[in-house]
Structure formats: structure tokens, C-alpha cells
Assembly symmetry: C2
Homo-oligomer: 166 residues x 2
């Protein structure tokens, strides 16, 4: 079990709590992606989700390394934000039958997940610098760059759909 | 009550559902911001939240106009994602005593809210273009530009804190 919010007293505590929150989020994403892969109909969207699942597993390994560098055990703390984002994704995707509409909904849900990660890694990088933990910044930046690239790819897929709108 | 997810059959339905989702989110944000304003200790952060509350009210008016242009009643549909993001913000901010740590937590929570809105307005703009509803695109783009500006301001505040780290 991670750091309870009532135990947050210092910036170090806040950083550790946020790290545990993102660790939980990444693990939930690895559970959500296989369902999105099986539902996606456009081959490029399906392949995009498969690539992102591989990336997410590497991102979890990077977080393990960040915990190790901090001298802390890798732990997760429940993150209501990612739970809500994934719940909403499942609700919408679970009900749509038309493949084109379903793919649009899946891609939008994935972008909501990406943006949650983008903001959290951005915050972690700022706080790591503030705390003088410069040795962990490159690990967090590597993941942030991947999340931003995935978001851009999803935007491109949406624009391609736009150019082929019936 | 908005459009149930099991009633989503077309891109028009998906667009309307997403619009109702964002309408709910903006309204929840106007309820969450006063608490964040009262908790923030740094004057520039407090002022930033106050400005964003005024902006959010204008953004709701823009959404009212979008519903009107679509010939639909302005309705909200529960959005588990923003509920989760705000729940997480309240949990963390509710427990932190140190003003510096509290402000950092509040600013990070606000950025998570902004990124949720950035991704949703980005999606709405892409779908509005796909559906040929070009008359509503400028309204959505005006709000997206404000959300991105707020996110940038929050990043600047975090960097200022960094430059004055003890």
C-alpha cells in the first residue's frame, strides 16, 4: 500500500505519493489496453494500441528504476482519476456497435489517458528538479516523450479519418 | 439527463454525448474551484484560480451556444473521468498542511483538470470538422486556447517555485 494522503507533509512525500499514483495508473492501463486492442477495428488503431501496451510495460520498468534510485519500494496508491477515465472509456466503448464510431470513441478515450499521463509526468519532472533529484529526470522525460508521441499519433489517426469522412 | 451511452449509434450521437460530458465537467469545475481558491496560499495561484473560474463560466456559455447551434437542449451527462480527477484533487489537498506543499498539490491538480479539458475539446473540434459543423468550431477553439493558456500559466508558476526552492 502506498503513502496515504494524510501522511503527506513534505515535497518529498508529495513526490512519492504522485509517483505511486502514476505507478497505479500505468498498471491499470496495461489491464485496460488488451480490451481496447480487441475492440479496435481499424488495423492502424489496433496496432497503435499494441505498440502502446509494449511501451507501457517499459514505462513501468522505468518507474521501478525511479523507486530504486529513491531507495523506496515500488508501490501503488489508488488513483481515482485514472479509474474514472478508464471507467468512462469502458462505458462508451462497451455500447457502440458501428465500427467507425467505436474506433473514434476508443481513440478519444486513449487520448484522455495520454493527457492524464502527460500532465502527471510533467509535474513529476518539475518536482524532481525542485527536489534536486536530477538523476531520475531523464527516466521521467523518456516516458513523457513517448506519451506525447502517442497522443500525436492518435491525433493523426483522427485527422486521417477526417480526410476519409463519408 | 443526457444521452445514455447505449444510445450512441452515430458520430452525431458520439459528438453530442461528448459535448454533454464536457458540459458536466465544466459545471463540476465551477463547483471545485471556489474550494481551491480558498485553500491556495500563494497570491498568484489564488488569483490564477479566480481568473479561471471567470473563464469557466464563459466556457459554459460557449457550450450553451454550441447546443443552441446544434438545435439541442443543453444537458449534462455524468463524467466519471472529471469526478475522479476532482476526487483525487480533494483527497490530496484536504490533507496537506504545509502551504508550499499544498500549493504544489493544488497547482498539479489544476493541471490534471486542464489536460482533461484540452484532450476533450481537441476531440470535439476534430469531430465537429468531421461532421461538417464548422460553425461551432471557433467556439470550441476559443475555449481550447484558454485551457492551454491556463496550463502554461500553471507550468510557469511551478517553474517560479523551482527558482525559489529553499
Amino acid at each position: 500500500m502506498g503513502l496515504f494522503t494524510h501522511d503527506i507533509k513534505t515535497m518529498d512525500d508529495l513526490f512519492l505519493h504522485q509517483l505511486q499514483d502514476v505507478y497505479y495508473a500505468e498498471n491499470q492501463i496495461t489491464k485496460a489496453l488488451p480490451k481496447m486492442i480487441s475492440k479496435a477495428t481499424a488495423p492502424e488503431l489496433k496496432r497503435g494500441f499494441e505498440v502502446h501496451l509494449e511501451e507501457t510495460n517499459r514505462q513501468i520498468e522505468r518507474l521501478d528504476e525511479v523507486f530504486r534510485l529513491l531507495g523506496k519500494d515500488a508501490k501503488a496508491v489508488t488513483c481515482p482519476a485514472i479509474d474514472g477515465i478508464i471507467k468512462e472509456a469502458n462505458e462508451i466503448a462497451g455500447e457502440v456497435e458501428d465500427p467507425r464510431v467505436l474506433d473514434a470513441a476508443l481513440a478519444a478515450s486513449a487520448q484522455a489517458v495520454e493527457h492524464y499521463e502527460i500532465t502527471r509526468y510533467g509535474t513529476l519532472i518539475a518536482w524532481a528538479k525542485e527536489l534536486g533529484r536530477t538523476e531520475i529526470v531523464p527516466l521521467l522525460q523518456a516516458t513523457l516523450a513517448e506519451e506525447e508521441a502517442t497522443d500525436r499519433k492518435l491525433t493523426e489517426l483522427a485527422e486521417q479519418r477526417l480526410n476519409h469522412a463519408p
